[in-house]
Amino acid sequence: MHPAPSVILFSVLSGLGFGMLAWLGIGKPPMTGFSAFIFFFVAYALSVGGLLSATFHLGNPKNSLKAFSQWRTSWLSREGCCAIAALTVMGVYAIGAIFFETHWMFVGVIGAMLSVVTVFTTSMIYAQLKTVPRWNHWSTPVLFVSLSIFGGALMTGQVTVAMYGFVAVGLIQIFAWFISDSSFSKSGTTIETATGLGNIGKVRMFEPPHTGTNYLLKEMVYVIGRKHAAKLRLIAIILMIVIPILMIGMGAQHGIKAIIAVLSHVVGVFASRWLFFAQAEHVVGLYYGKRG
């Protein structure tokens, strides 16, 4: 799949932002006044900034408001509804913490749950697609949600939780890569089932329908950069998991070590998310004689 920068930016930043909001909602850290404002400002900048960058991906954004209408069937619509609900509820909670020096726990807990559910709905946009076997697995939502929760823990200074969490996230990430490498061949969809010609013999692309490229090839048959996938995976896991854990182990509560831990983690998540898209093979590639 085409790794659109706007969608990668959106899913990484809003994942972190909603992860932060989830921790802030349960009163961790228990800040009030100006220091609470700083935390909420960063969390809102990430989540709202991420959502705005997603709209750059749209071909016709003027109809965006209609996207809140189909929550009964569409994960994308559910995501929009949950995001607005989470941001609104957490906004009320933030007003309490910043201006009234109180934590309305009931509001905060609901806001925290909505924040986590928002990240879950984001992950389900991808996990629901049978057409992309690599994504169509329970490890997709587990990875997205755990990355968001523990990335949020790091951002809100819950370093001990973040450290143990990152060990788990690292294992989930490696498991997801391991499982997804064989998911296309295990899905049972082949050029033979795609064309229905398998009972005659072995099928091969003879001539494509067009000599140039098209939307389908650009969007769903993206193949650039796969040869570096193994190296990028190593870089992603080191930056996303290993360096932050080392920094926390060396006492990254504040200061330069904390900044290194956060920056390394964020860059690592970008690398992981880029691979999530760039390595995903859509079954339509079979019609073009390209597996994915």
Binding site: A67, G188, G196
Partner: protein, 248 residues
């Protein structure tokens, strides 16, 4: 609404005969011609006369080579457009309700006034039947020529999809696949019409008729002796000539 409608009795769709399709692409052109100036935004082209042309099409013809275990390979031309699936995944993923399946005849359409161009429906479709128009920013797909098939301003013989009307080899058929007695349903029954990627559970309405088995007789072999390679060991005059020509 992007919820799928209750199952309708009428299932309009196409039956495509892979045995008779000659791969002329006339259906591709007639489809583009009709649909660029009728339902919704035109089907735009980018860099149409330049080095790297591309454009939006609702119907494309692939060609495959199929190699049986024994015997000669076969070339099969393979037109592909929206299959108007009964369980259309492109419909339920749509966040705005722009992508919908009509209850009355099962045609899957895009309401361009509600489409945000997010492209998720194209991701959900296994068949590559949807293309986001790069000029209009909205999703385009086969409408089954909904503006022809019910159009009483057209002569009756033209009230079928443009691709079916134009096909010179009669490889495309249009009709109600929900009616077991319709001509298309009988054709599917007789020829063993099949679904594409049935394992994905989309339940396509359009069916493909597999190529008929090829003759495996020996009659073409009457010319075979003439095609046998000439003797590699030569003697007599030809041998003398061969040896001397070799020396020059």
């Amino acid at each position: 609404m992007t919820a799928l409608p209750p199952k309708s009795d009428v299932k309009l769709g196409l039956v495509i005969d892979l045995d008779t399709c000659v791969g002329c692409h006339a259906c591709v052109i007639s489809c583009k011609g009709w649909n660029t100036e009728n339902y919704g935004a035109p089907l735009s082209d980018q860099d149409a006369y330049g080095e790297n042309p591309s454009g939006t099409f609702l119907n494309r013809v692939h060609s495959y080579e199929v190699q049986p275990e024994q015997g000669a390979a076969q070339t099969i031309h393979f037109p592909k457009s929206c299959l108007h699936c009964e369980d259309a995944p492109c419909v339920t993923v749509c966040p705005t309700g722009a992508s919908y399946k009509r209850a009355e005849d099962g045609i899957v359409l895009v309401n361009e006034d509600a489409c945000i161009g997010c492209g998720l429906c194209a991701w959900a479709c296994p068949y590559g039947a949807r293309e986001l128009d790069q000029a209009a920013g909205v999703m385009k797909k086969c409408t089954l020529c909904v503006d022809r098939i019910y159009n009483e301003n057209l002569p009756e013989e033209d009230r079928e999809p443009a691709c079916v009307r134009t096909c010179p080899s009669g490889a495309r058929h249009f009709g109600d696949l929900g009616d077991a007695d319709s001509a298309v349903s009988k054709l599917v029954e007789e020829r063993g019409g099949m679904d594409l990627m049935p394992e994905l559970g989309t339940k396509p309405v359009n069916k493909y008729l597999p190529p008929r088995p090829k003759d495996q007789g020996n009659e073409i072999d009457i010319l075979a002796p003439l095609l046998a390679p000439i003797a590699t060991e030569t003697s007599g005059f030809l041998g003398w000539l061969d040896r001397n020509l070799e020396k020059i």
